[in-house]
Amino acid sequence: MSSAPRQKRAYTLGTVTVIYLLWSLVPVAIAIMFSFNSGRSRSVWQGFSLRWYTWDPQGSVLNNESLRTALTHTLLLGVLATAVVVPLGVLFALALDRWRGRIPTGANFAVLLSFVVPEIALAIGLLFMVTWLATPFELGTTAQVVGLITFQLAYPVVIVRARLLTIGTQYEEAARDLGASPLGAVRRVLLPMLYPAIFVSAILVFADVLDNFVLVRYLSSNAGTETTSMKIYNTARAAPTPALNAIATLILVSSFVVVIAGWLAYRKWGRSDGEDTGLGAIATM
C-alpha cells in the first residue's frame, strides 16, 4: 500500500488528462476567438472586432438573414423538443418503473436502442415515412421535432428511471399511508424528489438538440428550417467567414447558459436531498 507509486501514477494520469482536455477544448477556444476577427480569415488574426456579430452589412449574424434564421430555428427546435421530450420521458419512466410485463420491456428496449442506432438509419426511416405515408405533418419543423423527440426520449427515461430505482417506493407508500391518493402521492412526494433528474435530463436534451445534425438535415424543407449545424456543414468547405464561427459560438453560449441555469436550479432543489446523484446519473447511462 505504498503511496509513492500511487502518487506517481496519479501524476502521470493527471498529465494525460490535462493534455486530453487541452486537445479537446483548445481548438474550440480558437474557433471562438476567431469569431471576433476583424478580417475575413479564420486562421490569420487581423484584430478584434464584433464585425461578424453586428456591423458587417451583409455577412454579420445580425444582418444576414440566413445566419439569423439558422440561429433562431436551432433555438426553436431546442425549446420545442425539450418541452415535449422531458414530460413525455418522465411519464415513460414512471410507467416503465411501475408496470411489469412484456410491453414495457419492449419499450425499454426501444428506448435504449436509440443510443446505439446510427442516426442516419432513424433519419432515413423518418424521411421515408413522412414522404410516403400520409402523416399529418410534412417535412419541416414539425417533422424535425418529431424526429428529435424519438431520438432524444431515451435521455429523460434513462436518467429519471435510474433515480426512481434509487428512490424506491417507500416514500410513496408512506404518503399513501398518510392518506394521499396514488396520483397525489406521485405529484407531491415523488415528483419533487425527481426534480434534479428532470433538470439534468432537460439540460442534456436541450444541449443535444442544439447540436443535432443528421436528423434535422434529412427532415428539413427549405431555408427556413436550416439549423446552425446544417449551416456549418453546408458552408464550412465553401466560402465561410468568421460569421460561421460566430453563430457556432452563440449556440455554444446558449447551451452553457441553459446548463448553468439548470445547475443552479439543481443546487437549489437537489442538494437538500444530500445525494449527489446528478452527475452519477449521467454516468450510469
Binding site: G39, R100, R102, T105, T131, L133, L139, N222, A239
Partner: protein, 427 residues
C-alpha cells in the same frame, strides 16, 4: 426478480411469429395510409400508372430536334395583369451563391409597396432539388435548373407554363432564347445564365500553361498534381469531361463501350491523382486550397471576389477550347406548379432579365447573363472582367460549336448514375 430474465423474451420465436403475423395487416394499413405522391401529377400508387407519363413519352430535345412542350389542361398559365401577391414571401430555390444579395434586395425594394420578402433556399445538386420539388412538401416559387431536367419537369407536372405578359424584358436576352430548342416558344422557361466548362487554375501555383498541352483534359491524370486538383461534383460534367478527354464528342451517349471506357478512366484518375470532388472551386482556387480544378466559367469570375489580400487578380486563369468545342450550357428559371406566389415569381424572372440587374448579378455570381447589351468585348473593355479571364466569357458562336449536355433517357441516365456512384465510392 423475474425482470432480470425478461429481456430474453422480446427476441423469442414467439415474438418473431407475432411480428410476421402482424405485418400483413400492417401492410394493408400502410398502403391505405400511403400519401398521394406530392400531388404534382406523378403517380406512385400501386394501382397502375395510367395517369403518369411513361418513359417512352419523354422527348429528348436537342439542337437538331427542337421540342415544343404540350400545355396540359389542368396546368395552364396564370391569368395576366394581376397584381403581385400582397405580403408575399418569394421562395427562391437555387445553388448557393447563385443569386446576388443585391439583386434580391433590389427586388424587395422595387415591390416594397406589396411588402415583398424573398427567402433563398439552396441545394447542392439538381437531383436532390428535383426530388424535393416532386415531393411537393416544400413549395418554391422560382427554381433554376438546366435544360437537362426540363422534359421531366414538364411531363411530371412539376412546373407551370409561363404567363409571358409578365416577362416583358425577355427582349433583352439573346433572341434565340425566345425559341430555344429545348423549349420552343419559351413556354416554360426563361434563360438565366450562360457558362462553359473548362479548367481553372492559379498561375502562381501551376507553372505550366494548361492550354498548351495537346490534350489539356489529361492534366487530371497527371500525378504531378496529385491531391492538388478537383473535378466538379456533377455527374454529367465530370463524366462528360472524361469522354472529351477520351476523344469522344457525344457527351450524351448511352453506348456501353464508350461509357465503360470513361468509367475506367475515372477510376484510374482516382488512383493517379486522388482528386477532390467539389463545386466550391470558386473559393478553393483563389484561396489556394486547390491549385487547379475543373470549373464552370462563372466560377473563375466569381473567384475574383474571393482572392485573399495581397493576391493579384491576374493569377487566375481559365482554359476553354479556343475553337469552342467544349461544353457549353445555360441555366434556366422556371416556376414550380405549386408556387405560392406565381405573380411575384414571374416578376422576379422579369427582374433578372433587366440589364442593370443582370449586370449586378453577374458581378457577384460570376456567371454571364444572356444579355444582348453585355457582349464579351464590352465586359472586358469596361474593366468588369480582367483580360486574363477573357476566356471565361461565353461568346455567341459557342452555341453553334459547343457540346450541350442534353436530357438523358432514363436508361442512359441510370448508366451514368451508376458510373458516378462507383466513382464516388472510392477505389
Amino acid at each position: 426478480m423475474s425482470d432480470a430474465e425478461q429481456p430474453r423474451s422480446p427476441l423469442s420465436r414467439r415474438r418473431l411469429l407475432q411480428a410476421t403475423a402482424l405485418s400483413l395487416p400492417a401492410a394493408g394499413l400502410l398502403s391505405a395510409c400511403a400519401r398521394d405522391s406530392g400531388g404534382t401529377g406523378g403517380s406512385a400508387s400501386s394501382s397502375g400508372s395510367s395517369a403518369s407519363p411513361s418513359a417512352t413519352s419523354l422527348q429528348i430535345a436537342s439542337p437538331t430536334n427542337p421540342v415544343k412542350w404540350p400545355i396540359s389542361a389542368g396546368n395552364e398559365p396564370i391569368a395576366a395583369g394581376q397584381n403581385p401577391e400582397q405580403g408575399g414571401n418569394l421562395q427562391l430555390y437555387s445553388y448557393a451563391d447563385y443569386v446576388a444579395p443585391d439583386v434580391i434586395a433590389s427586388f424587395e425594394e422595387k415591390y416594397k409597396k406589396y411588402n415583398v420578402k424573398v427567402t433563398y433556399s439552396t441545394f447542392n445538386d439538381s437531383n436532390e432539388a428535383l426530388a424535393k420539388l416532386r415531393g411537393g412538401s416544400t413549395p418554391y416559387d422560382v427554381y433554376t435548373p438546366s435544360y437537362d431536367q426540363l422534359g421531366k419537369l414538364v411531363l411530371g407536372g412539376v412546373i407551370q407554363p409561363l404567363q409571358q405578359s409578365y416577362v416583358t424584358d425577355i427582349g433583352n436576352a439573346y433572341a434565340e432564347f425566345q425559341n430555344p430548342f429545348y423549349d420552343q416558344g419559351w413556354q416554360y422557361s426563361a434563360p438565366y445564365t450562360l457558362y462553359t466548362t473548362g479548367i481553372g487554375w492559379r498561375t502562381d501555383k501551376v507553372s505550366e500553361d494548361v492550354g498548351a498541352r495537346p490534350n489539356p483534359y489529361d492534366i487530371f491524370w497527371d500525378p504531378k498534381y496529385r491531391e492538388k486538383l478537383a473535378v466538379l461534383d456533377d455527374t454529367r460534367e465530370a463524366i462528360g469531361m472524361t469522354l472529351l478527354r477520351n476523344g469522344q464528342t457525344d457527351v450524351n451517349t448511352g453506348d456501353d463501350t464508350i461509357l465503360n471506357a470513361a468509367r475506367d478512366a475515372l477510376l484510374e484518375m482516382t488512383t493517379l491523382t486522388k482528386p477532390r470532388v467539389t463545386i466550391t472551386g470558386y473559393t478553393d482556387i483563389p484561396e489556394g486550397r486547390l491549385d487547379l480544378s475543373q470549373a464552370w466559367s462563372g466560377d473563375l469570375i466569381a473567384a475574383l471576389g474571393y482572392l485573399p489580400q495581397g493576391v493579384k487578380p491576374d493569377v487566375l486563369r481559365y482554359w476553354f477550347p479556343a475553337d469552342g468545342k467544349g461544353m457549353v450550357n445555360n441555366d434556366l428559371m422556371v416556376i414550380p406548379k405549386n408556387a405560392p406566389n406565381p405573380v411575384l415569381a414571374h416578376l422576379f424572372l422579369n427582374h433578372l432579365l433587366d440589364p442593370a440587374v443582370a449586370l449586378a448579378n453577374f458581378q457577384y455570381v460570376g456567371y454571364q447573363p444572356p444579355q444582348v447589351s453585355l457582349t464579351p468585348e464590352k465586359l472586358v473593355a469596361d474593366g468588369i472582367v480582367p483580360a486574363n479571364l477573357e476566356s471565361a466569357l461565353v461568346k455567341p458562336g459557342y452555341f453553334n460549336s459547343g457540346y450541350r449536355l442534353l436530357e438523358l433517357s432514363p436508361e442512359t441516365d441510370a448508366k451514368w448514375q451508376a458510373i458516378w456512384q462507383q466513382f464516388k465510392a472510392g477505389a
